[in-house]
Amino acid sequence: MTPLPALTSVGTDTERRTILDLATLLPFVVNVIVGGLVLGFVYAIIALGYTMVYGVLQLINFAHSEVFVTGAVVGFEVFRVLAPNPINGYLKLLIALVAAMIVSGLLNVLIERLAYRPLRNAPKLVPLITAIGVSLILQDVLRIIEGFQGRFDLTYTLPQGFSGRFCAAQSSCAGLGNALRTIGIDLQLKDVILIAVSLLSLAVLNYLVNRTRLGKAIRAVAQDRVTAGLMGIDANRMISATFLIGGALGGISGVLFGMKFGTVNAYSGFDPGIIAFTAAVLGGIGSIPGAVLGGLVLGVIQNLIGVTNVFGGLLGVANLESIDASYQRIGAFIVLVLILIFKPTGLLGKSNVEKV
């Protein structure tokens, strides 16, 4: 068949040889993978918001992407307002995170009350449509709110040093930084913060869902609302609690997203939302560790697909050379298909225990 037109070329043979040199290539690959992991953590936290809500209502909460953008907007405003303030950067971050968690969490609860709860007994796809409706509404509401201040694309002003290198040469942990950099891991401080915050939220969430009475009740409601009622569990309250937790996670992920990528606008939620939901599915929807694993896998795969053309160029494989960043997204989907064919319930999804 016709080769796809090759767009990439790695230049002269000498250049190719230098790049092929392990000392150049290894840090590159490591860096791409680590970058993918960082990205993956962002997806993972967003994915958790989807998975929580999906878990209880079997609803793809399309509005989650806007809940998370709301968190990002709150974060933006906090950083903006506090920018002239000389307080510690980490404190600012904490304020931003907490504010975003509260706003997004309450927003999510409100959405559930207004748009999903009245439809509890309707066919499953009806709330899906209201979710889409809410998502559209929120997009414009966010745009209006920010628009009145003459803003559309919101660019984060991060505290001093957050965008700088992690353990830069002049800092006290320069040794660690240098060591990491020799093997190719070149992180910004905000990446490290992002990973730390993600891991912490994960740990808390995991405890909440698996170890507490609340968590068990939520899971019972997820499986059989009516019978849960017979156990004395108020299903509506548990669902609200789930939306609160999911929304708070959305808030966190919004701030992390804004920090990592620097810019958000009212419409920014859709793409990462879709990928995050894909991650949730990949990991096994409804499963918390699954969502995380899925996010990380997708992050890494996206980044690796993004650099396939370089390897294609190096190896002289023309067909690989045309696999460039424009294939990132669908590469992730194709991987998803392949994985699901072999593992139909996702990486960590429990195999369907339907017994007949």
């Binding site: 230049g11 810019t263 793409d271």
Partner: protein, 364 residues
């Protein structure tokens, strides 16, 4: 008294509505300005704004609506080449002339429609201009090209690639990406391949984010782009660290460099409580071209409301003056005969004129 209308067709809702609204508002100013002149001919001039949502199908539907309103004699639009192509085709049978303030893709006029005109340069002029700048001023030998995978961005990038290759410059990649936030793999590749310059055929809101991440990764390589970068927002998005070493070609001179533009900008601010940007000025110019065309046609028609066909011909043939971007006349397919491309430079968050390049379409 007969009512005649000038329509605008641009995205008034959705992600690109800011630019689309600029065009509408620019055209509104022109209409306000010309109202008295038409009044004298006994014609009541109005603006009829249409929203294409930056979507080809919606644009076509709107174009057909425009076609059905006989009082509309010409259209200013569109913003996106991808919309202009089908919309102009839908308007062609009705002989409704379009004057585009933004569409640069070659295909827009290459189809030879009698109703499609543009006052901006073509991508096959803009591309080589960018390429020339890369080789001439930046002296780059190795260039990394990116595009946004839209009709506009990819078309432009392809022109740049062609021009660079013709100059024997090494083009490391011409890579498309629809990604809006995460550019980490691309940044990693750029770091690996160390180009002397990066060209990005795309629009400011995407390119700005890319630049920000590029600079944060410590890469200071110059980034070059096209008219898609011509927005005040670029600097904000790229951030203080990022807004350096950026160059872009555009068709409008910086507003503060033109005395006429000053009043325009003030007017714009007063009327819409919003700062005028490049596309506001383009919209204004395009509307002026259309209105002058209608006036000419009316005069030729004995000071009566002209037919659409007459307007179409008048626009294609006319010479239009008093515009912000200089005089306009069109060649046989509707390209502006002599356009000027300006190369702008962003340094420390300030946008300055770096060079100006006269360009002409291949056909005259």
């Amino acid at each position: 008294q007969t009512t005649i209308k000038l329509a605008t067709l641009s995205p008034l809702s959705g992600g690109q509505s800011d630019l689309g609204t600029q065009i509408r508002n620019g055209a509104q100013l022109a209409v306000n300005e010309y109202k008295p002149q038409f009044q004298r001919l006994g014609l009541n001039l109005q603006l009829a704004p249409y929203d294409d949502q930056a979507d080809p199908a919606t644009g076509t539907a709107q174009a057909r609506k425009i076609a059905s309103d006989r009082s509309i004699l010409a259209v200013v639009g569109t913003l996106n080449s991808g919309v202009a192509i089908p919309s102009s085709a839908a308007l062609a049978p009705s002989r409704v002339a379009l004057v585009s303030p933004a569409n640069t893709a070659n295909q827009v006029t290459d189809r030879g429609l009698s109703n499609m005109n543009r006052i901006v340069a073509r991508d096959d002029a803009q591309g080589p201009a960018g390429a020339n700048f890369i080789t001439g001023t930046l002296k780059a030998n190795k260039v990394y090209i990116l595009n946004d995978k839209t009709a506009y961005g990819e078309g432009l990038a392809r022109e740049v690639e062609k021009a660079l290759k013709a100059k024997n410059v090494q083009v490391v990649a011409n890579e498309g990406t629809e990604e809006k936030s995460d550019f980490s793999s691309i940044v990693a590749k750029i770091r690996l391949q160390r180009p002397d310059a990066i060209y990005f055929g795309g629009i400011y809101n995407q390119v700005g984010v890319f630049i920000k991440q590029l600079r944060e990764a410590g890469i200071t390589t110059p980034v070059v782009g096209g008219d898609g970068l011509d927005s005040a927002e670029l600097v904000t998005i790229a951030g203080p660290q990022g807004a350096n070493n950026i160059y872009f070609t555009t068709v409008a001179a910086p507003i503060d460099a033109l005395p006429a533009a000053k009043t325009f900008a003030a007017n714009f601010q007063k009327t819409f409580n919003d700062a005028a940007q490049g596309f506001g000025a383009f919209g204004y110019d395009a509307a002026k071209v259309a209105l002058q065309g209608i006036l000419n046609a009316a005069k030729a028609n004995g000071n009566k409301a002209p037919t659409r066909a007459q307007v179409e011909a008048a626009i294609r043939k006319g010479n239009f003056t008093g515009l912000l971007s200089g005089n306009v006349s069109f060649n046989s397919v509707g390209d502006r005969k002599a356009a000027t491309l300006y190369v702008m430079n962003v340094q420390d968050g300030k946008t300055k004129l770096a060079a100006s390049v006269p360009v002409r379409p291949a056909k005259q």
